[in-house]
Homo-oligomer: 327 residues x 2
């Protein structure tokens, strides 16, 4: 297969994903679009590497594609934005034959279509391992933009879902395949392989002035909440760790601590928000009514820097660090 | 070194590169900017992989960074656009220590600053080889946008500079180090390691209505001109191949054909344009006066599909194909 042949096949797979936003798509030196005049543009990039984030054994090609796009969409959601378009730099490793690449793009395209995100272009190169680098451009009303710097002491800290399921799924997929039967394992593997970015939730939360800061939980609550607090020049107390049911069910058999999975595991791609305390109960009630799931309180922002438990014990940022991992 | 520490150092290195375009830069879930209301936005992505595009022996860290950004800026130039911002997904291979990474970002930042392109964010991940995936967003007036589809039969085809120097430099750097002394080798190595994207030339050419189509020569004239002609539903005759002086000087000692380097070599990052024939002489004169270099005629667009020499002999697209290369 030649590069031009493959690009033509990929173009066919990805062309259904919201082509209307694009004036020029795949096949030119660059893609072209018309940004909305009333909005700000946002951009984020994230890479998924074979042997680091996944293996051909731990994920199907379509799941790897889904996962690569989902982590980027989660960053777009965390800004309160909606996606517009994505570009994909695809490194063809020795383990990626044409069928694998096409299935991977099908996984990307299926999620992109649901998220109304056009696939605008990309680059195909040889690489020593499969490398999926995705960049997404999104748009947000200036008044809805949520950064990491707005958290104030006294704010209620909450997440859009329980944590630890993705790490439980990683453990089942890579270390304990004998635990893979049953509904808890299925839920955990789904969370690990095909996480659902909280796009609708992010846009809804961003529209509230009482939501003062937002980010996504990609590297673990203990790491991400510390980053959020530091960016806002505050600290935080963790009062309750919401553990996903499937993580709680699987941890004993795996010889692990479900709460540690939830605190440090990462890749859950839930949104982490800081909400004006007096508004939290009302906002959480409306969130539940709108999405059928609770907005779960995890703690309180503090004037004192650092991350602590309710009893004052410090919490270490033991989540995923890409440069420490594997050392 | 932790991921957060490294990101802080990279932020310091890249912060001088045109930060004004950005509302939110490195350190949040995504970067935020305000697109110009009167312009279209363009986006392109390109990856540079250790062992495929470069080795630690063939390029310094700063040159690899420059080269990775330059190939993306060349695509922006080929749309007639100016760069606004870039994101970098950096895969840390075993050969990349902290000093190498920082030097690489210094190479990126130096070129970005000259090109007035902000470094807006990125992702740092472990990888089996050094992987530099860059995405650039640019802007162009709608009336100046140049795609690949506007070439008409009878158009004059031209390039912004002679070709083959980069391939000569690759040969010296990777196969024939004994040829590395002297000014011809220095020029060839410079073309290979630190190519200069034709941003000013691209914007100037894009402003002319007589320039009907434009792309950059990244995969070799024989491949790129065939793509340009095919996208425009025409063919082309190659009448003269402009060979870079340094390539002509180095080819005999390397036992290679300088014209083949110029035709098939690729990575010269000159712009390839299709110009209304009656306007070419005047445009080329103004180009020379403006940039101090000739706009070099290479051939003529034809109604008949395919690529030919003046004597009718077909020209094969023997340039770089990322999926064929190395097979």
């Amino acid at each position: 297969v030649t590069e031009d042949d493959l690009i033509a096949k990929l173009q066919a797979i990805t062309s259904r994903a919201a082509p209307n936003a694009l004036l020029v798509g795949i096949g030119d030196d660059a893609a072209v679009w018309q940004p909305s005049r009333s909005h700000r543009s946002v951009i984020t990039t994230d890479a998924l590497i074979e042997g680091v984030h996944f293996t051909r054994q731990s994920m199907s090609a379509a799941d790897a594609g889904h996962r690569a796009l989902a982590s980027n969409l989660s960053d777009i959601a965390a800004m309160g934005a909606k996606p517009v378009l994505a570009t994909i730099a695809f490194g063809v490793g020795p383990a990626a034959d044409e069928a694998w690449i096409l299935d991977c793009y099908r996984g990307i395209a299926a999620l992109a279509e649901r998220a109304r995100c056009a696939i605008a272009g990309g680059d195909i190169v040889r690489a020593p391992a499969i490398t999926i680098s995705i960049t997404i451009v999104g748009e947000v009303r200036a008044s809805n933009l949520k950064t990491r710097t707005g958290m104030l002491p006294g704010d209620t800290i909450a997440v859009t879902g329980p944590l630890g399921a993705s790490r439980a799924g990683l453990t089942v997929a890579t270390e304990r395949p004998e635990l893979a039967a049953g509904p808890a394992a299925a839920a955990a593997l789904r969370a690990f392989r095909t996480p659902e970015p909280r796009l609708a939730e992010g846009r809804w939360l961003a529209a509230s002035r009482n939501v003062r800061a937002m980010m996504d939980t990609s590297d673990g609550l203990s790491t991400d909440l510390a980053r959020l607090a530091r960016a806002s020049n505050v600290g935080a107390t963790i009062e309750a760790i919401p553990v996903a049911e499937c993580a709680r069910a699987l941890a004993p058999a795996a010889g692990r601590d479900a709460e540690a999975w939830a605190l440090d595991g990462g890749e859950d791609f839930e949104l982490l928000v800081s909400v004006a305390a007096r508004a939290f109960t009302h906002l959480a009630g409306r969130f539940h009514a709108r999405f059928g799931r609770p907005l779960i309180r995890v703690g309180t922002a503090t004037a004192q820097a650092g991350l602590r438990r309710s009893d004052g014990a410090p919490v270490a940022s033991a989540g995923w660090d890409h440069l420490r991992a594997g050392e």
